[in-house]
């Protein structure tokens, strides 16, 4: 099987590490070779962050380069737009519609671009934009946005709901399990 490439992008502190952990767990049980590349340290402090998840028969590079991503899963709209050059032809963006202003916008030296989802579509990109934050709050916590997004992404893969839920069970503390399962299903059905 040719290597599949998933990028998880967002703002430092939004929980992309848990999303990639969940994906990794699931893919490992399916017998794939996997590489997950994360960002730690300085850029985590509210900066733009990206996690690369790659799986297939044999994976060499730990990173995804421009023109390679099958999916970009984004926690935030501007971050989805930032990474579009990494999509391969026919690749897809799954994004939360939440907007978080970066410091240059807050201080007024830059503007948050308008209508980004529409602009991405106009550029010929497949965009699946939805309000993951509301669904996460509905599940019980705004912090579950990561799991809602994974639920929505899961529609693009053949893995069963049970397989995904099993991976969630192995990735989150028991006291948050039910909330996360609910978040996943809300995302999957959205």
């Amino acid at each position: 099987m040719q290597t599949k490439n998933i990028m998880i992008v967002g703002v430092g502190g939004q929980g992309s590490l848990l999303a990639s952990k969940l994906l990794g767990r699931l893919l490992l049980t399916k017998g794939y070779d996997i590489k997950v590349s994360e960002v730690h340290g300085m850029s985590q402090r509210g900066g733009s962050v990206v996690t690369y998840v790659r799986f297939g028969d044999k994976v060499y590079s730990p990173v995804i380069d421009k023109g390679e991503a099958d999916y970009i899963v984004s926690f935030e709209l501007l971050e989805a737009a930032r990474w579009t050059e990494y999509l391969r032809k026919g690749g897809k963006i799954v994004t939360n519609t939440q907007q978080i202003n970066p410091m240059p916008v807050i201080t007024g030296v830059a503007e948050y671009p308008a209508d980004l989802a529409e602009k991405m579509q106009a550029a010929g990109i497949q965009v699946d934009a939805f309000d993951a934050l509301s669904l996460a709050e509905q599940a019980g916590s705004a912090k579950a946005v990561n799991i809602v997004l994974m639920g929505h992404l899961s529609r693009n893969f053949d893995f069963t709901l049970e397989e995904w839920l099993d991976a969630i069970e192995k990735s989150v503390p028991a006291k948050f399990l039910e909330m996360n399962k609910k978040a996943f299903i809300l995302g999957r059905e959205a």
């Binding site: 994360e38 930032r82 201080t107």
Partner: protein, 580 residues
């Protein structure tokens, strides 16, 4: 059972399986998780040392006592530990000693892009370089065997993309290891007479290691179908080469980067038409090939700046590069890292910027005080440089009346390398003003304990070094503590201490707002009708404040109610929420 493991966790697993029982490190991205992960194994004693030099010396002591030992650090940390390194290279070890050093090509979280491979050659000790987590685990274990067989400390070189990538590993059981200590002054006392006898041993050892490298299976040739080109590579560069070329060209993958196998390299070069070296940062393998008189393509084609990727390697090897995806908007605003909402450093940096003070900075979260709109810092060099620099700056100004120079250093950085600088301030009597930003944790690397926090790496309560007492003991008479959430108090302290005719220390104390035990206040409220859109509150660069319809608004999910913005508002438009 197969597991996904971070490269750093795999090093930790390797330490565990190899029977390592003593670990001493100082945190530094991208090396920190090795020590955090190994601390979770009951069988391993693990600690945070105040700095890398202390960590390496402690690890040496433990190996001398007969236990396999380890210290881990980032590339710049090895500069701090270079002094013991170059002499432990002479004494050799008793039980095995392994040192991990993690480079940061691309400078994701570093102040320079140095290539630590030079240390292996300069200190004349072997260096292994894993390319993924499975190798990180295996090479760490192998490093102990090499250490004991050849009587040498062994460097394991990580880099960001190996340290912070997860890949598949298969863990095994731990095998305990222990030796006894026997006194051996000729080997361990490096006074000139003994050191002169050890130096020839070191040179012979390098030759023996180079011979070993010829047959070691970690230096392997992977056959290719097209011998018009052969590639020598290691670490992540190997992954990019294989990603791009597959099995097309033969590849000599070096798992041991120093010393290198001369015959193996010559044989490989002879088997291909064009010899190419693909390596990140400096010319190291290439330089060695050139010293062997081989014709080689390397840094004339590949950059010595930034990290590589598969597209870069493809372009340089004239292979196909995928078509880039569509660009959506011309202007995507950057999203740089920012000081968190509620960060105790903010009030201090605002005060420094407001008073146009020259602030020599240091290494930590507070480096973000340099970023607009605060822009409160003048320098960032290395751990501890703020205090020594402020001493020199103040002395050079020769007591100018308008002295407006301070050093800004964090609690952990002060313990690491600030104390000796402060001794110099006291001893040579400059009237420098030193501000220790004490947020009661090592912040930037992700909340590690340090000697001022009262807890050790394993989370147990321990001796807490008292900063005030320490500064006074060093000889600083003027030591005072301020709360950086209180702008008036902070400003008064800075003005008074700058005016003082002698050295002083201001401890700006507030725990990091991200610490779990720190209780946040309710978010502040903006009374919109009072807001005159003066944007004073925007001067502190708080991510929780923005202007909406020309009025200040607060993001309630981010605001910690620290109240610094409220103190800036001249129209009382920002109000602290009433307590229940």
């Amino acid at each position: 059972m197969k597991q996904l493991m971070l490269g750093n966790e795999a090093v930790a697993r390797g330490l565990y399986e190899a029977g390592c029982s003593f670990v001493s490190s100082y945190p530094g991205t991208p090396s920190t998780e090795i020590t955090e992960a190994v601390a979770k194994y009951q069988e391993v004693y693990a600690e945070w040392a105040p700095n890398e030099k202390v960590a390496m010396e402690a690890a040496f002591g433990a190996c001398l006592a007969g236990k396999r030992s380890f210290c881990g650090m980032k590339h710049v940390g090895l500069n701090v530990a270079a002094d013991p390194l170059f002499t432990i290279a002479y004494t050799g070890v008793n039980a095995g000693m392994v040192i991990a050093v993690a480079d940061d090509a691309g400078m994701h979280s570093s102040q320079n892009e140095q290539d630590s491979r030079h240390y292996a050659r300069a200190a004349k000790i072997p260096m292994l370089e894993p390319a993924d987590s499975a190798e990180a685990l295996a090479f760490t274990k192998l490093a102990y065997d090499i250490s004991e067989k050849f009587d040498t400390p062994v460097l394991v070189k990580m880099c960001t993309r190996v340290a912070h990538s997860q890949s598949v590993v298969e863990p095994a059981e731990r095998v305990e290891f222990s030796k006894t200590y026997e006194k051996n002054p000729q080997k361990y006392i490096m006074m000139p007479g003994n050191a002169k006898r050890r130096h020839p041993f070191v040179e012979e050892r390098t030759k023996a290691l180079a011979d070993w490298a010829e047959t070691a299976d970690i230096n392997r040739v992977e056959e290719g179908s097209d011998h018009s080109r052969g590639i020598i590579t290691s670490s992540t560069s190997y992954q990019y080469v294989k990603e791009v070329c597959g099995d097309k060209y033969p590849v000599l993958k070096l798992g041991m980067i120093w010393p290198m196998p001369e015959k193996k390299i010559r044989d490989f070069a002879a088997s291909v038409d064009e010899l190419v070296v693909v390596e990140e940062l400096d010319s190291f393998i290439e330089a060695h090939c050139l010293s062997l008189g081989l014709k080689v393509t390397g840094k004339d084609t590949f950059p010595c700046i930034d990290e590589f990727s598969q597209n870069l390697v493809a372009a340089k090897l004239n292979a196909a590069v995928p078509e880039t995806g569509a660009k959506v908007a011309d202007m995507i605003p950057a999203r740089p890292p920012v000081m968190c909402a509620g960060c105790p450093h903010r009030g201090l940096f605002y005060t420094l910027a407001k008073n146009k003070i020259t602030a020599l900075g240091d290494i930590g979260c507070y480096t973000l005080g340099a970023v607009p709109p605060l822009g409160a810092l003048d320098t960032t060099i290395c751990m501890g440089a703020s205090i020594s620099g402020a001493h020199g700056f103040t002395k050079a100004q020769n007591g100018a009346a308008d002295n407006k120079t301070v050093a800004v250093i964090g609690d952990s950085t002060f313990m690491h390398s600030g104390i000796t600088g402060l001794v110099n301030v006291a001893y040579n009597e400059s009237n420098a003003t030193i501000i220790i930003v004490d947020n009661s944790i090592t912040g930037m690397t992700g909340h590690q304990q340090n000697p001022t926090t009262g807890f050790n790496l394993k989370g147990d309560p321990c001796t807490k070094i008292d900063l005030e007492t320490l500064c006074r003991a060093v000889g600083i008479r003027r030591v005072r503590v301020v709360d950086p959430y209180n702008l008036a108090e902070t400003e008064t302290a800075i003005k008074e201490e700058l005016a003082a005719p002698e050295a002083s220390v201001i401890i700006s104390r507030r725990p990091c707002a991200l610490l779990k035990y720190v209780k946040h206040n309710k978010p502040v409220r903006v009374e919109s009708d009072k807001c005159r859109s003066c944007k004073m509150c925007m001067k502190i660069g708080c991510p929780a404040i923005s202007m909406k319809d020309n009025k200040a608004t607060i993001d309630n999910t981010l605001c910690t109610g620290c109240g610094v913005c409220a103190q800036l508002c001249k129209f009382d438009a920002i109000q602290a929420a009433k307590e229940d």
